[in-house]
């Protein structure tokens, strides 16, 4: 189908974009790459009255690289991350994830900030950035604030972003040299949304170990037992994953999903321990 009628504006600065958004909090939608929003408009699932195009704001395409962390602007595309055009704090994890995300013709337009703002439960970045302990820097009428990724996505397509706030960047702590990661996405063909998605990260130097599931019927699911097992270098992760899933009864996994999640998390942890 075709998108419904809509107004369009391309502000010249982030401050102007925030101002426009706060003037039209109900009918306006922020558009960056538009790779989900335009599809939703074409399907008539979304009918915004006003599109605020932030894709060309220079302050949202910045990449900063300091000794402890890398900041990636909200409008940096998946393809730029895949191609190594943005500094990589994750020792290869983020380029690998970007390359597994949808198709190249989507990755060239779709942005890391857009993926977080939509927080599709099957999307890669909310889970991966939670595993990396990243922070989302958001800008609103009252200024900037930081939200830990683990608290940013609050449910299915739900986030901690206020109606008048725009994501400015993601700040990702750098993994140490001895850090290791595992990543497994299960889907029926290359580029599909995940049926199951697991990320495991261990960074002993920084005392960080975290295993996170995506496509988990809600916000990314941090597996506490499994994360502890990862830091202890324990033997077989399968039982720990199963115990974590037992504690997540509110996600209502059916038997098939449960098995997929167990397989994904177990294999991601094994990649780390190997």
């Amino acid at each position: 189908m075709k998108a419904p009628a809509v107004d369009y504006v391309r502000p010249k600065s982030l401050a102007e974009a925030v101002d426009l958004l706060s003037q039209h909090p109900r009918e306006a939608r922020v558009i960056a790459g538009g790779q989900s929003l335009v599809a939703m408009m074409n399907l008539r699932v979304a009918s915004p009255g006003l599109l605020i195009d932030i894709s060309r704001l220079p302050e949202l395409s910045l990449v900063s690289d300091d000794p402890n962390a890398v900041g990636i602007g909200a409008c940096v595309t998946h393809a730029a991350i895949e191609d190594g055009q943005a500094a990589d704090p994750s020792r290869g994890l983020m380029p690998r994830v970007a390359a597994s995300l949808a198709y190249r013709a989507i990755r060239t337009r779709g942005t890391i900030g857009g993926s977080l703002a939509l927080s599709d439960p099957a999307a890669e970045w909310p889970a991966v950035l939670t595993a990396l302990d990243a922070e989302v820097v958001v800008c609103g009428p009252g200024g900037k604030r930081s939200i830990g990724c683990a608290d940013f996505t609050t449910g299915v397509f739900e986030t901690a972003l206020a109606a008048d706030e725009i994501i400015e960047s993601v700040r990702i702590p750098k993994l140490s040299q001895d850090a290791r990661w595992g990543y497994l996405k299960l889907c029926r063909k290359a580029g599909e949304f995940a049926s199951a998605l697991a990320v495991a990260v261990i960074d002993r130097t920084r005392g960080h170990s975290r295993v996170v599931l995506g496509a988990a019927n809600g916000a990314p699911l941090v597996l506490d037992h499994t994360s502890r097992l990862l830091s202890n270098g324990g033997p077989e992760p399968r039982n720990a994953v199963a115990a974590d899933l037992d504690r997540a009864a509110d996600r209502h996994f059916d038997e098939f999903q449960r098995n997929l999640h167990i397989v994904a998390a177990t294999r991601a942890v094994r990649q780390v321990l190997q």
Binding site: K2, N42, L43
Partner: protein, 160 residues
């Protein structure tokens, strides 16, 4: 209506467009560039793939207003492109199409794979084509044709 100026296949173009108009419909209905095809109109089938500033993009998921000042290339743009010439010849020789609906975007995607050195193996080509759906061929001859073109062009090594 919003005024836009952009470059399409090397020519400067100015027009007034309603913001809801997709780049695909702009190309087809306003510019008569009907080689860009529309299948699903939500980013899944890949038939509408064009180049925006040199990179492949779904023209059904881009609004024409957002293409202001951009450089667009459609399948009509590649008459003299050596990679596209090799691809066209091999698609012909290997019978890589039946109805032809997916073919323009298959060619644009294949050209991008070859230029990015991502056509080094059958697996790599199949992964790279995952976003372009063909309902006729079963993909075998398309993959064969792209592999042959890549070999001909000397870009088969993944990291050449």
């Amino acid at each position: 209506m919003t005024a836009i100026r952009l470059q399409i296949n090397g020519a400067d173009v100015a027009d007034d467009v309603p913001p809801r108009l997709s780049l695909a419909d702009f190309l087809r209905e306003r510019r008569n560039l009907t080689g860009t095809h529309l299948g699903c109109e939500h980013g899944v089938c890949g038939a509408c793939t064009v180049l925006v500033d040199g990179a492949p993009a779904r023209s059904c998921l881009m609004l024409a207003v957002a293409c202001d000042e951009r450089r667009i290339q459609t399948i009509e743009a590649f008459a003299d492109d050596p990679v596209m010439q090799a691809l066209r010849r091999n698609f012909h020789q290997h019978h890589a199409l039946q109805c032809g609906y997916c073919t323009p975007a298959m060619l644009i995607t294949a050209r991008d794979l070859i230029l990015r050195r991502r056509a080094g193996s059958e697996r790599e080509i199949r992964d790279g084509l995952a976003g372009n759906i063909c309902r006729c061929t079963g993909y075998t001859n398309i993959v064969t044709a792209i592999a042959a073109a890549a070999k001909e062009l000397g870009t088969e090594a993944a990291n050449a």
